[in-house]
Symmetry: C2
DNA sequence: GCCTCATGTAATGATAGTTATTACATGATA
DNA sequence: TATCATGTAATAACTATCATTACATGAGGC
């Protein structure tokens, strides 16, 4: 099991929208080139990010732009935007526990709270990662590249 | 995306093996009845739990038994036993970021550490949940049932 | 020592989710 | 108004999950 690549694509998009904002017209085709995925996939993710209020989309010269400052965007916001995890929860429960069995009859009452706790721990960590830090890290890495070449 | 039901099935199995150890011969068919899943699925999960050293399997009268005390089994042990998450990691990365793009070229360097941090947070919470607590909770719930009926 | 029965495993199929792709309608902006 | 980007529908390939049938293997009970 893995969380769909729509999540890393979405983060990639946010980084690129910020990074190229002064040098490029950022369109779905341009982003698809950077991400290495199909433009339709990118447009769908763009739509998710727009609906979540993370980016704004214009067809004009300005192209895409961030709708909020990077400090106010976390991994969790992006993760929610692209619906990585089913509304049923992170864990898929077996669907037909036997109600005539004392264990089967109580299995949800016994596990649901702890399973939600695990999901909450994951999501809390996602809330702790700010896109501003990610973008700063990206700029540092790119700057380092140039320095090592010189 | 959801974590396979093999995880909740495996936890169900551990609970049932302990709960019925004095009253029933616990076999894959019996467990399949309690879980409400196919006996082959149950046998596969049993095999995973055996390989992880969590249960021992005998064909004789004794049936299945725990190979360790419940205090020494956590959600994480069960989660590892049934291989819920790809070895590649919890997050599926888009596979062809553009190496000619400064963002695409550095996206792994920028994200891998934080993504692993999220996965670690989830797994740390799983390590904090002991099956002994889960089994005790199960026994309490079943006891409550009887009391409410009376 | 043989018989029974549970486990282990292979093979197949149904279903659903993910990603890619073509195609086209819509709508904003230059 | 022409252009070009977005939005979206439809289809397909691929993979993962779960169910199911079938059968070989092997351990325990008698």
């Amino acid at each position: 099991m893995q969380i769909t690549s729509k999540f890393t694509i979405a983060v990639h998009i946010v980084i690129a929208v910020d990074y190229f904002k002064d040098s490029q017209k950022v369109t779905s085709n341009f982003l698809a080139g950077s991400v290495g995925a199909n433009p339709v996939i990118v447009r769908n993710v763009m739509g998710d990010l727009k609906n979540a209020g993370i980016i704004s989309i214009s067809q004009g010269k300005s192209g895409m732009a961030l709708a909020r400052v990077l400090e106010d965007i976390t991994f969790y916001d992006v993760y929610r935007a692209v619906s990585c995890v089913s509304d049923e929860g992170l864990f898929h429960f077996h669907e037909k526990p036997n109600m005539d069995c004392p264990v089967g009859r109580n299995i949800h009452k016994v596990l649901d709270e702890e399973l939600l706790g695990v999901q909450n721990a994951m999501e809390a960590q996602m809330k702790a990662v700010k896109l501003s830090d990610i973008v700063n890290k990206t700029r540092r890495e790119i700057a380092n590249e140039v320095n090592s070449q010189a």
